[in-house]
Symmetry: C2
Subunit: 246 residues, 2 copies
């Protein structure tokens, strides 16, 4: 995976074409972007950028998963975002990265040097418009996650995370989520803990508890089956159709 063939791929066949920051661009605009884009790949576990570092480029996630997180001096860390294919990394108009970005799986980014991208943005309203839309969505997601962090119990937090991952996996395969669906957990217990503001032991206990109640089934440590979607959603504490966070 992550082979060099990405470098020669033209935007028309790009898997994130319809969802990324370039989604609204016209063919001629795409051509311009094509001319200044380049791909970068990162292996699972590699850092993409550290908080405070100068950002030379902005980028879109083409494939793989990255995390956005923050760490305190004493080592406590909080994940503040999960970056999936089509998500945008970087900030036109700011030099230093505000958070750490780390590749969780092997990762491919479609990059643009910052200055040329900013220039292009000025001339191309479709980019700014799309970026605004994506940013507003991210803001809503972040705010919804604040409810999870601030007010939910450990059990509700775990259920909320699983519900999100289930929805995401379903939308990735372009099917509605359904009873009996299963998906791969992309995160370790520790990463889950960092996302949920818990310790990894508490995560482990609550996953076991949900398993014991039959709300989820596990095949190995990483594959999850949801026999009854409604039962899972009930465990999140949200009402019937909990918001599709992130």
């Amino acid at each position: 995976m992550n082979d060099i063939s990405f470098n020669t791929r033209d935007c028309g066949s790009c898997p994130i074409r319809h969802r990324a920051v370039c989604a609204r661009c016209q063919p001629d605009e795409l051509e311009q972007l094509d001319a200044i884009k380049y791909y970068r790949t990162f292996e699972a576990g590699q850092p993409v950028i550290w908080s405070g570092d100068p950002m030379e480029f902005v980028s879109s996630v083409v494939s793989g998963i990255a995390t956005l997180s923050q760490t305190m001096e004493d080592g406590r860390t909080q994940m503040v975002g999960l970056l999936l294919p089509s998500d945008f990394i970087g900030r036109p108009g700011r030099d230093a990265a505000p958070f750490d970005v780390v590749a969780v799986t092997d990762l491919t980014l479609c990059c643009f040097r910052k200055k040329p991208f900013e220039d292009m943005m000025e001339k191309t309203p479709a980019i700014g418009t799309r970026l605004l839309q994506m940013t507003l969505d991210e803001l809503d997601s972040a705010r919804e996650w604040m409810l999870v962090l601030g007010r939910k119990t450990a059990r509700e937090k775990i259920a909320s995370l699983l519900a999100i991952l289930a929805r995401r996996d379903a939308s990735l395969h372009k099917k509605p989520p359904r009873d009996g669906m299963s998906f791969e957990l992309p995160l370790t217990r520790e990463a889950m803990a960092d996302y949920l503001g818990l310790t990894l032991e508490t995560v482990s206990r609550q996953v076991s508890a949900l398993k014991k109640t039959g709300v989820v089934e596990l095949q190995g440590k990483r594959r999850v089956t949801i026999p009854d979607l409604q039962a899972l959603i009930t465990e999140t504490g949200d009402d019937v159709d909990g918001a599709p966070i992130v």
Copy 2:
């Protein structure tokens, strides 16, 4: 306060002129906005909009404070934002409000009906650009707040909130924050609790604890003095110059 004179005020003398969504507009663009704007006022405690309601207008906070919050079925609520003068309410391109907005103090909004505003945005890049910038800032703030909610202790949470309010109050008066500064607490203990993901009793206890240690002094329940700013920042758990959240 909130008198009708706002209605005839022209944009040039507007107190949030340099920070709001219109900050980058040219005189002719301001004139156009002027033609479609109208002011609305809300008394302290009044709802501005409920989550799920159709949004007929977008607006900027001109004066006063509002909260943005989310409530679960069983009554647990989490504040997800504090809206101060110049902050923007609403979302071009979305019909339903994602969160509850409530006036905490008497509040004046500069409103635009949604459709005309969206039309104007299409013709006026300065608005979209400014809104993108503001939204990206809000997103960073929301993510920084996630660290507070997910990883900080009750004492650190209180200190973090006080530090933010101190910084804000200072910037409102265009002075750098300094030792011995004091400001008015705009929030009840319950509102603080909803912001911090705590109970009001825990808030009360931790405020008392900080008072006992001499980190803060109280004149009455609502006026706070910070004798030693660095001591407060140390209590937040952040490093030297904790990020200027929100």
